[in-house]
């Protein structure tokens, strides 16, 4: 089990360039495949902010969160799983519909128009 802190970007060691900014539409996401078979959903809110979450939907085990709908619930930026529609907080990975569930987050940084995903 990986225990995660809410602190995001701190401590990342490896940064993998995955795509150009314009390859991620506003209020949508893409999936990135990192070394070791790790899948990250790179999600962008409608005001252009990037977030990285594990691409695996913990409720179904399917690698699909990058294909979810991005929006907000009570002001919290979220992605809804396309399988059974649970919402996940883009900033913390916390599941809004089941407080016991939280998924891994990955820091994202943009350098010269290229999106990088960080792994601790």
């Amino acid at each position: 089990m990986t225990v995660l802190s809410d602190e995001q970007s701190a401590g990342a060691e490896t940064w993998t360039p995955v795509c150009r900014v314009d390859q991620v539409p506003l209020a949508a996401g893409v999936a990135a495949l990192l070394d070791g078979g790790v899948q990250v959903a790179v999600l962008r809110t409608d005001d252009g902010e990037f977030h990285g979450l594990s691409n695996i939907d913990p409720f179904s085990g399917a690698a699909v969160l990058a294909r979810g709908i991005v929006g907000d619930i009570g002001g919290v930026p979220v992605v809804a799983s396309p399988i059974y529609k649970q919402n996940f907080d883009l900033r913390t990975g916390r599941c809004l519909d089941d407080p016991d569930v939280r998924i891994a987050t990955y820091p994202i940084r943009v350098v010269d128009g290229t999106v990088h995903v960080g792994v601790r």
Binding site: M1, L26, L33, I56, G61
Partner: protein, 840 residues
């Protein structure tokens, strides 16, 4: 030891009695033996006329009327009780069976009244009460049709039952005569003014009305009949139906020496007990406290009273409201309370709109403060509100209740004004007080909850709008807000988008909502934008609004792969195309299955395989089947006249035409259709959102059907129309639904909740009561003209194609979480387990 209850008769009321007794008699103190004269279990006689739509008796079946699995009920059919031996407490049936009883219930109903007219027993003369009567009438119509094309018929009786019979004949394609002795139609229910309008409306429907005259003789004339009327008119006809009222079947009671009511019927007290304490009478054969009732609701309440009394509980028949609201041949007729102003000094307020075909009369007390009764013809929309007001103080000036200025009773007076004992649901005798108690004490927070708690609204459904109003009046907010981002309902948003021509979600939420949107409002708005024609569903910002399946124009499966369903209009497919499907499935290693919608589903495609698969399919002439969309799915067909020996019309041809016409139409929920070539209904059209069944006269259109979780049989909207008319009405129906339904509300639920129900729908899409039919048709014409295949649209656009990759940084790399194993020689998904990324 349980005691034995014998029930004579198995009609609607007898069934309700057995049902009520068995559900309350938990200890099984009674064993029940029911003897029915008819050869089938009790059925919905009230809906008898609709038998003509399908000629399928199952449609009239009452749930649970065979008591399968209930060992305490024995149902003996086709064996009427012939005599009662009160001393020995036993009955003897026609077959000679002798049955002892501890209690006996007479539920023998009525028989049609046939006046003593010369020739009444000739062949070709019928009555109208049972399924068999209708089968006989149909056979006579067919024989006459063989002989001379268009048969002629007359109905004797212009009351409720006579007009029912006339409607049945109309539905069989005849133009009947109706002969009524009274000076107007429905003399018991309506007054001269209402009758006059009714006469006109019915005449418009191709019925010839003869009022104020009787049938004096019927004579054989070759292979036809000649009916002579009292006023000298002679009718040359092929058949004649007596439908001139009923008489209680009290002969069993009479012969056994039970007391009878003054106007017939076995006399009972308020507990439905006859002059013999061991014998009860319920339904139309009973004369409760001297009064006979010819409607089913009072019969039901007698059944409940008798059941309770048999179980030793106190209950008494409260008297019954003989108010009626009917739709006869598409014409609304309602009468309630003292419709004929028989009360001393009563005053009448009449509003007669000859232009729009509506007649409304209220009867009020001499000081105009109390409503006594009324008559509504042509437009009975105020009935639900007015009837419960009877006997109470009027909240407003009577004219405001029915006059055009007040906009009708619905607006002029609120439900608050109704007294607690006002009956809101007359079918199930539920009062306003009982419904309010359910809301306050049992916490019912919606119409559904009230239905299951009180039974209100579960029969004819006409009181459902009132239930909603009561909820609102109790402060129960039935929020129509779409979600936290929009306070509007889907229907309201649809109107906003239509009127403002807003074309993006961002603009809509900025101007009419709050926040950023969510998985509820985004797909709903995407659907609205798509219905109103905003290009490809994945165009620009629209892509990010789409729900899971629409986002990739395929159905997501549990392992994140997709299924692909190409359209096969009407289920008709060329061998070459079938071969292509097989080749594609083989090439991409897809699991293959025939769906329940008469087409082929290919499962297990990854995101990046989708465009490659579509390319192969589109090249072979396939297009998207929208299995993923809240859109038209399939129009199922049977082979119809093309092959079937029973086919009446080309059902495959019509199914293909309809599927091609409505393909791609985005709607609040998925839409399904079916076309059957005859009433055998092999395409299951009546379980579809819009289903069509061929008859020899054209097409019958049924709407609001549903399979799935809550099945519902579709209701007949129009019958015997030709293809052009059919398509026009479906265009209007679909567009009206698309505009006004809630998110994820199938047509069945929409129709159930529609204010005014099927009548209102008929008024809007057939009679154009809102004047919007041109608009609805134009919207559909636009949809049809602008349809394009969505798969092709992706293949032609590099920007859209680019999104069909599993990984943005590794196009073409296989998704390591996807794996298959083999089951019955085909690939099926295996889940590899969730990687270690979850903290709990």
């Amino acid at each position: 030891m349980s005691r034995t209850l014998v029930v004579a008769g198995h009609g609607m009321v007898a069934h309700r009695l057995v049902e009520a007794l068995r559900s309350d008699d938990v200890d099984g103190t009674w064993r029940v033996v029911v003897f029915g004269e008819e050869t089938r279990p009790a059925y919905d006689r009230v809906a008898l006329t609709s038998y003509v739509d399908t000629w399928n008796p199952d449609v009239l079946a009452l749930p649970g009327a065979e008591y399968r699995g209930d060992e305490l009920v024995e149902l003996v059919l086709g064996d009427p009780v012939e005599s009662i031996d009160r001393g020995a407490k036993r009955v003897t049936t026609r077959s000679g069976r002798v049955q002892d009883y501890d209690a006996l219930v007479l539920a023998t109903g009525s028989r049609p009244f046939v006046p003593p007219v010369e020739g009444k027993d000739l062949p070709g003369v019928f009555v109208y009460r049972t399924i068999e009567d209708l089968d006989d009438i149909r056979a006579a119509v067919e024989r006459a049709r063989q002989r001379r094309g268009r048969p002629a018929a007359a109905v004797v009786g212009g009351g409720l039952l006579g007009l029912e019979a006339a409607k049945a004949l109309r539905d069989m394609g005849l133009s009947p005569h109706v002969v009524e002795m009274a000076p107007r139609l429905m003399p018991l229910q309506v007054d001269d003014g209402g009758g006059g309008l009714l006469n006109r409306l019915v005449t418009d429907l191709d019925v010839t009305v003869h009022t104020g005259t009787s049938t004096s003789a019927i004579a054989q004339d070759g292979d036809r009949l000649r009916a002579s009327l009292g006023n000298g008119t002679e009718l040359d006809i092929d058949l004649l139906v007596f439908s001139a009222g009923v008489r209680p079947r009290d002969d069993l009671g009479r012969e056994a020496g039970l007391e009878l009511g003054e106007r017939g019927g076995v006399l009972t007290d308020e507990t439905c007990r006859t002059s013999d304490p061991h014998i009860f009478a319920v339904g139309e054969c009973a004369s409760v406290a001297g009064r006979v009732y010819g409607l089913v609701a009072p019969g039901y309440s007698m059944a409940e009273v008798a059941a309770a009394t048999l179980l030793g509980r106190e209950a008494s028949f409260p008297g019954a409201d003989t108010s009626t609201k009917l739709k006869l041949m598409g014409v609304d007729v309602a009468s309630f309370g003292d419709a004929h102003a028989a009360t001393e000094g009563s005053l009448e307020v009449v509003f007669n709109d000859a232009v729009n075909g509506s007649y409304k009369k209220l009867v009020v007390s001499d000081d105009a403060t109390t409503l006594l009764g009324g008559v509504l013809v042509g437009d009975a929309s105020e009935y639900n509100l007015l009837r419960p007001l009877v006997g109470g103080e009027l909240p407003v000036d009577p004219a405001a209740l029915i006059g055009p200025a007040g906009g009708g009773g619905g607006d002029a007076v609120g439900v608050e004004a109704l007294p607690d004992d006002a009956q809101i649901c007359s079918c199930n005798a539920v009062t306003k007080g009982a419904i309010n108690a359910a809301i306050h004490d049992d916490g019912c927070d919606g119409v559904g909850a009230i239905k299951s708690c009180t039974r209100a609204g579960t029969s004819c459904g006409s009181c459902v709008p009132m239930l909603g109003k009561l909820l609102s009046a109790c402060g129960v907010e039935q929020s129509t807000a779409l979600c936290e981002h929009f306070t509007q309902s889907r229907a309201e948003l649809f109107e906003i988008v239509r009127a403002t021509r807003i074309t993006t979600f961002s603009e809509l939420i900025a101007k009419h909502g709050t926040g950023k949107g969510c998985a509820v409002c985004k797909p709903a708005v995407a659907s609205i934008l798509a219905t109103l024609g905003n290009g490809h569903v994945l165009g620009g910002e629209q892509a990010s609004l789409q729900d899971t399946n629409d986002r990739f124009l395929a159905n997501m499966q549990r392992n994140g792969t997709y299924s692909v369903v190409p359209r096969v209009p009407g289920g008709e497919i060329m061998p070459d195309k079938l071969i292509v499907l097989g080749q594609v499935a083989k090439e991409f290693g897809l699991y293959t299955k025939i769906t329940g919608g008469q087409r082929v589903d290919l499962f297990g495609a990854t995101v990046d395989q989708l465009p490659q698969i579509w390319r192969r399919l589109v090249d072979a002439g396939f297009e998207s089947g929208h299995a993923y969309g809240k859109a038209l799915r399939t129009v199922k067909s049977c082979v119809g006249t093309t092959w079937c020996r029973y086919g009446q019309q080309d059902s495959v041809g019509l199914a293909v035409e309809l599927e091609l016409r409505y393909r791609g139409l985005r709607s609040p929920h998925k839409l399904k259709s079916g076309v059957s070539g005859c009433q055998r209904e092999c395409a299951e059209a009546r379980s579809k959102d819009f289903g069509i069944i061929a008859t020899e006269h054209g097409w019958n259109l049924y709407v609001g059907g549903n399979g799935g979780a809550v099945p519902r049989h579709a209701d007949l909207l129009v019958s015997g129309v030709d293809t052009d008319e059919l398509v026009r009405i479906i265009d209007r129906f679909l567009m009206f639904y698309v505009r006004t339904a809630d998110r994820l509300q199938r047509t069945a639920a929409w129709l159930d909740e529609l204010d005014g129900g099927l009548d209102h729908l008929y008024a809007v899409v057939v009679e154009d009561s809102l004047g919007i039919c041109d608009e609805l048709e134009a919207a559909m014409a636009e949809h049809v003209a602008n349809y394009e295949d969505e798969w092709k649209g992706v293949l032609e656009d590099p920007e859209k194609l680019a999104r069909f990759t599993s990984f943005v940084n590794a196009p073409g790399a296989p998704d390591p979480t996807i794996a298959f194993e083999t089951e019955r020689d085909q690939p099926v998904p295996v889940m590899l387990g969730v990687p270690e990324v979850v903290s709990r």
